[in-house]
Point group: C2
Amino acid sequence: MKEIERKFLLTKMPEIVLKSTICIRQGYISKSRDSVEIRLRQKGDAFFMTFKRGQGLVRDEAEIRINESDFHHLWPLTQDRQVEKQRSKAILENGLTAEIDEFSGALKGLFLCEVEFGDEAQARDFVPPQWFGPDVTEDSRYKNKSLAENGMP
Amino acid sequence: MKEIERKFLLTKMPEIVLKSTICIRQGYISKSRDSVEIRLRQKGDAFFMTFKRGQGLVRDEAEIRINESDFHHLWPLTQDRQVEKQRSKAILENGLTAEIDEFSGALKGLFLCEVEFGDEAQARDFVPPQWFGPDVTEDSRYKNKSLAENGMP
């Protein structure tokens, strides 16, 4: 299923009530020119490996859960292609949910916020709250994979 | 640890007593030019995923066991880069063990035999039995990865 999302820069964490916060770190075993993208991800105390191949309509994607010990065994393979962030959720005035990622490590100071919509019209008509920064939905430098490999835009 | 092995072609299965036979299938999620090699392997009823990066001395390698369901979930990602074989072991006259792989599918008719040695002198001095064919130790076309991607040499 295609997700309809918009992504925004924030200049700092908003002063609103946040619900649920989780630590995420992810690293890429593959490099950007490889035929397949392999991501390792820790989300709280759950561990995943995700495979993506292709683009657009012919996109193969598969995910498996792995255990903590295997995660630590494989994590060094992602060296130099890692991001760590704290993810919080905020409910916006219109009832939509914003996922706010506060990055750490080499990306300290970067805040990204994603809002998911039910359809394209809703995404297009969305009026960002004042505390949102520039829309970077189409800016590939802000993809996690790019941030992991190339650092701060 | 470095394995000291020699690899030979066979023209058919030898008429000697074989001990233990196991079905192996393996496929490569990565393609040959990728920065990392990712191999899925079923060996009997055990399932593995192996990662290799680099060559020679700076070689990273890691393996994890996966469950059968995850194996089947990921196996389609290896499409067009798969080999299936039956592995048997034979004890040679000098007490050495030969691993004999009989390939099936697109590689039907191919038999490869590997002998592992304790040191390089033993490997060099080894006199192959008469039923061994040409030494293909240095022929990269007979690597499993190459057989999987390029087929019969």
